[in-house]
């Protein structure tokens, strides 16, 4: 299935024109679930507010759906009176603390975490779910928090990088990233560590090649991944009961 993005009614067929309001999808019969899948993967910041248009063979035959409509289909939107979209009340347990919030249905989970809860350790590095900087644990599983709506996290447990250290002790993955020089600029690091925690939960006895494969959804531009792999390896060994003791959070030095 091919697709391209168009800026309003201008005949732009490239996938990269700015401020896409529509996804022009070369397929006649798509389920809304499929459309949703496409939207969240190829969303731009502009698409937070905009729409998608289905049926690219002829623009006249196309259907325009706002993100709200798609969200509504997902059961996430209620409307007041005529058509005004109403903010949704959600209840999310984040790092062990229950949060009750009212959010716009179109709010992405990552923006909810950063802007509403001030948990700025979760970063936004792309708009196509490629980079993984926004990875958090949702009910224990790593997810890219730019790829789901906050309303979809209603009732869920979310863990962010701020929740990794417990009782003043770093999580083994934090200790390992520090000791193995698994970070340089640090921007990908929170997402990388959260993804790694998920990997190690699934595969405690993982090989180095498997670490690389399982982290391919998280991009780092600084380290060449070598010390990230070494850090995940060290954390795996430690979590299986290795000799290393976790460092006290906040200590510095050698």
């Amino acid at each position: 299935m091919g697709f391209s993005r168009g800026a309003d009614d201008q005949p732009i067929r490239s996938s990269t024109s700015t401020h896409a309001r529509y996804l022009l999808i070369d397929a006649d019969h798509l389920s809304l679930e499929m459309v949703w899948h496409i939207v969240v993967r190829h969303r731009s910041a502009a698409c937070r507010t905009a729409a998608i248009r289905i049926g690219a063979k002829s623009p006249e035959a196309s259907v325009t759906l706002s993100l709200e409509v798609v969200a509504e289909h997902m059961g996430a939107v209620t409307r007041k009176g005529g058509s005004e979209v109403v903010d949704q009340n959600i209840r999310v347990t984040v790092n062990g603390v229950e949060q009750q919030s009212s959010v716009e249905p179109r709010t992405l989970l990552v923006h909810y975490l950063r802007d509403t809860l001030n948990l700025t350790g979760t970063h936004v590095g792309c708009d196509t779910s490629q980079c993984g900087a926004c990875t958090v644990l949702l009910n224990g599983q790593p997810v890219k928090s730019c790829t789901m709506l906050a309303v979809q996290a209603d009732g869920a447990q979310v863990q962010t990088v701020e929740g990794l250290a417990q009782n003043g002790q770093y999580h083994p993955i934090q200790t390992a990233f520090w000791e193995k020089h698994g970070l340089q600029c640090g921007f990908c690091t929170p997402g990388m560590m959260m993804a790694a925690v998920g990997v190690l939960q699934r595969s405690p006895n993982i090989s180095d090649d498997e670490i690389r494969q399982q982290l391919e959804g998280n991009l780092c531009r600084c380290t060449g991944y070598q010390n990230i792999v070494a850090a995940v390896r060290a954390a795996a060994d430690q979590m299986r009961g290795g000799a290393a003791q976790p460092a006290a959070a906040g200590t510095s030095g050698q």
């Binding site: 507010t49 520090w178 921007f187 929170p190």
Partner: protein, 801 residues
């Protein structure tokens, strides 16, 4: 200098605790009271006239505070300046408006901006801006842009020519007259997109009344941003504070001052509120600079014994639609002077044409000109070896600058400070078991497995560097660095640096340096960077200069602190300063080790100033402003072995060995990390990354789905080793390591792949060596008969061998 526990030791980074707990402070993490959000409308056309622009609907959206157009900026926001005015080159610097008024020149050129209560409202309102374009003919390729009849971008740059820069030394034409062997080739350095993981952004806080600006900015050089913001936004430089502590990678893309920065500042002035602008990744692909994009026609003259005698280069560089901050210097000075590389070629010329095209502006990307140079000369060394049926190792040995010839003035007129090129090559050959691999290669081929080995022996010019040289090259700035070392009454030290590390770890490295020299724990040394209000003028982090230049400034300041402390200690001990001995943080009187004062005790007394020696001022703080006398010249040898699947064209890296000599090393763990990351970016260029425009000027590779930033499965384990040849002209012996990996690596990979395919007659494949390109080259070579390929299967019609 004394080598002790900290200097040269692997010390865990002090930056990390805040970064592994999510407590970093990147630009997007700042929230100021009353802060508004800005979004920029960007042209969907690569080249067009704006025929209609109506913002009235957008202005009516509840929550919108301002909608800005190019007209609003007229007379208030100046064009984005070019800060590298290369001389004697007929350089054209057309105005680069922060928002276009009537003419857009690349897909992504800004046309309007909305300032609103939330990012979502700003984006909502962008969609309501009514704008019509009249599309114009588009040109995206350098040679087409320079050709007669090409679409013209700027009235004041005829034929789209940005500059014509030439360099010549020795007698290049003479070297080619009667040369025993001449090898010619054309290389395409594809366009790359830096993709620092943190997109660009700014938070501007204009305080009217005080008329002061605070700018939180994701930049590698806050003081340069302060300077350029002053020029662009007409704000006195002393009324601007630029703050950039945690920066999520740069690789050159965060050197320039951008239209978005100037706009954010103006938006704060217009609204009277703090304004945040954070680009999304798509915007980053379009509006943050790209790198490389250079075509070179190269000729190498040599003797039959492999001695290189002459080199001529004709380069065509794609500058994009406008000249970014440092852009003109990249494909000229930073490229051309180091092209002769490790070799004693005496006759050399380089001719560079820069062109405007309907593409995103290019500028410095990790290595900035030097990867292009190293690629060129190292590919030519291999082509010469192939022509003469010599081993690539022997061609290099034949032409190396000998270890006893330093300082050595190259054909590029650079004075290489120190080196031992044979030494790093020998070590790399041993680590990679080169001879063993060569034997095994033949056996593998008989088994139908196609393996090859590629060398890269490089020297780079970095540690940027003497300010007089910068001036001679037309760089509109200095390249010295300040270093301040301040001892507080409690014995703690504060270090100020004008460099702005953003992943390179100098908060740790500099603490090691100062802790060692003062004899105090590294934990007691705080390193402050990224705040122009706190730090004297400095020029930032790029060109592998932070430790070599900034570190030397700090070293000199620390020496001054010790000198002053010695006077205070002598006074307190009622001894002569000449009799004082300073060792491991303690002053004592020579011959009387019990008569002593620790430097912390001296710091307390100097800060209290109750009992200072006559003529000595209170406090214990010293600054140094270090301007190097030369660049630094790291060097090394990288060896890559690969296997090619002949059925799919897929390249698999078997081993990657990097032996680098970056001078004295302060923290080996950090240095290794820099090499890993640099090599990964070079491998990215060699095998994966390619920014592609279609004929309409749309960036086809405009997202991380379409542009292959390497992931963990793409990059092999890199085997690192070092030799250590100190830099002779600075006090620390440090040369710098930030760019070596990128400069050294692409050609090692390509040389290895060509080594695999050379029995088919394939002499070159242009990067990236994707499976498709390699497969196509194999098919073309097969169809033209084994051993008689065109020499450039990827580019029919181009001059081959």
């Amino acid at each position: 200098m004394a080598v002790s526990r900290l200097f040269g030791a692997t010390v865990k980074r002090r930056e990390d605790p805040r970064l592994i707990t999510g407590k970093g402070t990147y630009t997007d993490d700042f929230k100021l009271p009353g802060m508004l959000h800005m979004a920029i409308l960007r042209s969907p056309y690569a080249h067009a006239r704006i025929t209609h622009l109506d913002t009235s609907k957008a202005k009516q959206v509840p929550g919108v505070h301002a909608v800005l157009t190019g007209q609003d900026l007229e007379g208030k926001v100046n064009g984005i300046p070019t800060a590298w005015l290369i001389p004697a080159s007929d350089l054209k610097t057309p105005t680069y408006k922060a928002l276009a008024t009537d003419h857009v020149r690349f897909t992504g050129d800004g046309v309007a901006a909305v300032v609103a209560e939330t990012p979502a409202i700003a984006h909502d309102a962008l969609d309501l801006i009514d704008i019509n374009y009249e599309p114009l003919p588009v040109v995206t390729e350098t040679e087409k842009a320079l050709a007669p009849g090409a679409p013209q971008l700027h009235d004041d740059a005829p034929n789209n020519q940005a500059f014509h820069w030439t360099f010549s030394n020795g007698d290049p034409d003479g070297a080619f007259n009667g040369a025993e062997v001449v090898v010619r080739h054309r290389f395409v350095q594809q366009r790359l997109i830096p993709n620092a993981m943190e997109p660009r952004g700014a938070v501007a806080q204009w305080q009217s009344g005080a008329d002061e600006l605070t700018l939180y900015n994701t930049t590698q050089n806050p003081h340069i941003v302060r300077f350029l913001a002053s020029v662009t936004n007409n704000i006195p430089e002393n009324k601007i504070r630029v703050f950039a502590r945690d920066v999520g990678g740069g690789f050159g893309s965060k050197i320039p001052f951008y239209p978005g920065d100037a706009l954010t500042i103006f938006a704060s002035q217009v609204t009277g509120r703090p304004v945040k602008w954070i680009e999304d990744r798509r915007e980053n692909f379009l509006a943050t600079i790209h790198g490389r994009d250079q075509i070179t026609d190269v000729e190498l003259a040599a003797k039959r014994d492999g001695t290189m005698t002459g080199l001529r280069v004709k380069a065509y560089s794609n500058m994009g639609a406008y000249l970014s901050t440092a852009a003109p210097g990249v494909p000229t000075w930073l490229f051309a002077l180091i092209v002769p590389g490790c070799y004693t070629i005496q006759n050399y010329s380089c001719d560079v044409l820069g062109a405007f095209t309907n593409t995103t502006p290019t500028d410095a990307y990790r290595g900035a000109g030097r990867p292009e140079a190293a690629f060129l000369i190292e590919r030519m060394a291999d082509l010469l070896a192939g022509e003469l049926q010599m081993d690539p190792v022997d061609v290099r040995r034949k032409n190396f600058v000998p270890a006893d010839a330093f300082p050595y003035t190259s054909a590029g007129t650079l004075t290489y400070d120190s080196g031992n090129y044979q030494g790093t090559l020998d070590k790399a050959l041993e680590m990679a078991d080169y001879n063993g691999f060569r034997q095994q290669q033949q056996q593998m081929r008989q088994q139908g497995r196609y393996q090859g080995v590629g060398l890269s022996t490089y020297v780079e010019v970095c540690g940027l560097a003497p300010s007089p040289a910068a001036g001679a090259m037309g760089f509109q700035g200095g390249l010295w660095e300040p270093g301040t070392v301040r001892m507080l009454a409690t014995g703690k030290a504060v270090v100020l640096t004008g460099t702005n590390p953003h992943g390179q770890g100098e908060e740790t490295t500099f603490a090691q340096l100062v802790g060692d020299m003062l004899g105090i724990p590294a934990e007691d040394v705080d390193v402050v960077h990224g705040d122009t209000a706190a730090i004297p003028m400095g020029w930032g982090t790029y060109g592998s200069r932070s430790t070599a230049v900034g570190g030397t400034a700090i070293y000199k300041a620390t020496q001054k602190v010790i000198e002053k402390a010695k006077k205070v200690a002598a006074h307190l001990l009622e001894a002569s300063p000449d009799d004082m001995v300073f060792d491991s943080g303690t002053f004592h009187v020579q011959g009387s080790p019990d008569k002593k004062k620790t430097i912390q005790e001296v710091a307390l007394m100097a800060n209290l100033a109750w009992n200072m020696p006559e003529g000595v001022e209170p406090g214990l703080e010293e600054s140094s402003f270090h301007d190097p006398t030369n660049f630094t010249y790291p060097f090394g040898a990288h060896i890559c072995t690969v296997e090619v699947d002949p059925d799919t064209g897929e390249v698999k890296i078997l081993r990657y060995v990097a032996v680098d000599d970056v001078g004295v090393v302060i923290n080996p763990m950090i240095v290794d990390g820099q090499v890993h990351g640099g090599v990964a970016q070079g491998i990215g260029q060699a095998l994966y990354e390619h920014a592609i425009y279609d004929e309409a000027g749309q960036l086809i590779t405009g997202s991380m789905m379409d542009y292959a930033v390497p992931n963990a499965t793409h990059i092999p384990t890199i085997e690192t080793a070092r030799t250590e040849t100190p830099c002779p002209h600075n006090l620390t012996g440090v040369k710098g390591v930030g760019e070596t990996g990128t400069i050294a690596s692409s050609q090692a990979v390509v040389n290895a792949v060509v080594d695999v395919l050379s029995p088919l007659g394939i002499k070159h494949i242009d990067m990236p060596l994707t499976p498709e390109r390699v497969w196509q080259a194999i098919q073309a070579a097969k169809s033209s008969g084994s051993g008689s390929g065109s020499g450039n299967a990827n580019q029919p019609g181009q001059p081959g061998q």
